[in-house]
Amino acid sequence: MSRAAVMRVLAALVLGANALIRVADAQAPATAIVHAKLYTMESVQPIEDATIVLREGVVLSVGASLEPPAGARIVDASGHIVTPGFMSAGTQLGLLEISSLPDTRDYALASGPLGAAFDTQYALNPNSTLLPRARGDGLTRAVSFPDGSPVAPFLGQAVLLRLAPDPADLLERAHVAMFVKVGGAAAASAGGSRSASWILLRNALDEAGRYKAPATGVAGPRDQLLGRLDAEALQPVVAGRMPLAIVADRESDIRQALRLHDETRLPVILYGGAEAWRVADELAARRIPVVLDPTLNLPGTYDALGARLDNASLLHAAGVRIAISVLAFHRTYNAGGGARLGAGLAVANGLPWIEGLRALTTAPAAIFGMSDHYGSVRQGLDADLVIWNGDPLEPASAPLQIWVRGVEVEPGDPRERELARRYSPLRQSEWPPAYR
């Protein structure tokens, strides 16, 4: 048993009732996936005829033609491709049900005092219908980030999700990144110029750096712009423990982000980055990763006049780490399929195929500090695994079997499956569909 698994069992033991379940799990037989064409993500070439043994939520062993342990449940992958479960580096999963209905949206603030302090973790809905669909498309991890606050240029703080079936297991970690947005449409909230966005961001970091938790009844300086909650929320950012995720497309804004990084040494993740290819070498030199949408090839806004289909390929060639978050509603409603299509399109336009897979696994894992438990298939890591019916980067492909942290979940979208069953042309009835 790996150290991680031991730690998990120990943690369970101190959690009372849970411990009984965990102990029972530990005695459960292992699962062995055999005859897999396994892309571990640790090398370019697959392991042919691979065996992957999982138990207690983690991978116990991996290798070519390994003999499964006695008593293991055998799953025959029949030569199909197996990959880690995928990860989208940018969604609003758990924060959104029907986007046209404000009652069902929790990812953005239109008013109120919160900016940097807007932490989305308290809104997460594990029973959202969007979660099983994303999971059933092969997505096992996701960043869910806020998309608006009244305190420019802050959007708020993102959370890291694991799309496990247990509702209590959804939140992997809160406070994973502080999101800010600059540029065209976002400038309005800063007063009308992106320059104000940068000035406000720099000021906020400056004020947060000087911020001391006040003794009871003592206010901050009278000219401090930052509220107490926002200043406190920025403490891990100014301490360099929480990355600053800067949403920007235009080259000038990307260069401002580089400059801010150079001056503050704060960790930065670039989101969007339509024109990031123009700054590829500079991003690579600073090891700033880019989370991008490979489908963007139109001047969709005046900030994205340089958008092109080989953005991902050019960034990779320069040595920039890339992950995927497609825009519009595919980002969340089709978080799994949308991310796969994005990676596939990047590959069609020059990105090596294995890098398309890495943009959905090891790259976001590294960006968000998850590599010790997620991203590749290796002994001791979480058993997030997908058996695919074809090339996972082809939009027509789909998962055959999926495990999230060792728990097998059903492929496809359960609600969609119920509707499809009810209205299937292959099964007719004299009774109205509601009886089927």
């Binding site: 065209g184 309005a188 123009r278 001047p299 005046y302 006049l305 092109r308 399109l345 939009p395 969609e416």
Partner: protein, 440 residues
Amino acid sequence: MRDFAAQPYPSTYHPLPRRDTLIRGATVLDGAGRRLEAADLLLREGKVAAIGPGLVAPDGTVIVEAAGRWITPGIVDPHSHNGNFPTPYTGEDLLHTDANEDTDPNAAQVWAQHSINVQDPGFSRALAGGVTTLQIMPGSMNLFGGRTIVLRNVPASTVQGMMFPDAPFGLKMACGENVVHSYGDKGSFPVSRMGAIAGQRTAWTQARKYLEDWRRFARGDGKPPDVDLKLDTLAGVLTGDIRVHVHCYRADDIAQMFDMAREFGFSIAAIHHAAEGYKIADLFAREGACAAVWPDWWGFKREAFDAIRENAAYLHAAGACVAMHSDSNISGQRLTIEAAKSVAAGARAGIRIEPEVAIEWVTHNPARMLGLDDRIGTLEPGKFADVVIWSGDPFSIYSHVDQVYIDGALAFDRSDPARQPGSDFELGQPSAARRGAHAP
């Protein structure tokens, strides 16, 4: 008698310079349900002249070797906003666009052709995705959104230069949430679905009288009615000269539209979006209306919550006419991939759809929707020579469009920058300039 479908702003389209061309040795999906291996396709004087193995080209014919590549008819996008919702988008677009005249729920008098910005970069991107014909739609904020326009996807300095000669007009109608929200949120009519239907029935009733007044005048009975541009469009529908395209999601809403068509004696060419089409697939088959659908858009509003990926396959299995549409300048560059997603969902549900059938969803069937299947949509001899050569299987994300022919002219060539048209807007933009070692 007044011609309600007259075109006083007529097409000036001329085919691009062209040469007779023989494409040899490709896998052909002809759009008429056939798949041919190692087949040749001869394009002569802008028409498909012959298709089959071992064709012989007359002297002077350009020969294109396409062994290992795939050929399909030109892709037809029956629902695009290229030109009337052009990039780049700005904050202004939140206030007003050229796609919706949402000042009156009956905007039957507006024509999409009067909004088109021919310099929308979306046109050239769609061309690089194999799109040869597009229907540009008014938006869905109105009960009657206005007339649609069908364009050839060739660059021109005026919309007249892009208009598909002698293509029928369409009328965009809408039901459901968008209309009710756009007016209801302002507190004006209609604020409900029943109000929306009443608004449409009232307009059709007026149009019926308007048409009867013109017919009476044509019989020499009295004075001509005052010309009414709104009622012109609706009367053109009642005479069968203007095709009806309805934006509608829910099964129960769609059924209301079919009954409305019967009440006033017109037919519906297509229901667009049809998120719940699968719930009434047999009704689509009986009515003969096409369903123009997305493969996987769902959930973004209440009436899209039951959209399932099996939608297209279920409609197809019931015998309905299915077309993929984009409503997007991004997915509109990859309509074959959209079809591939729907085919895959069908296969998972036990409905097998072969590539030679699926290609009809993006060629022949949208051409039927537009009333143009006598001219485009298949590679049968005599049809317009709209052809796409793909580097591989058109349903694979890794395949590229190598060449696009429109009326027999090479309108796009992936290997020849001189045959890659671009918008004036994108000229001289420093941030788009290809530079340095990374230039392709």
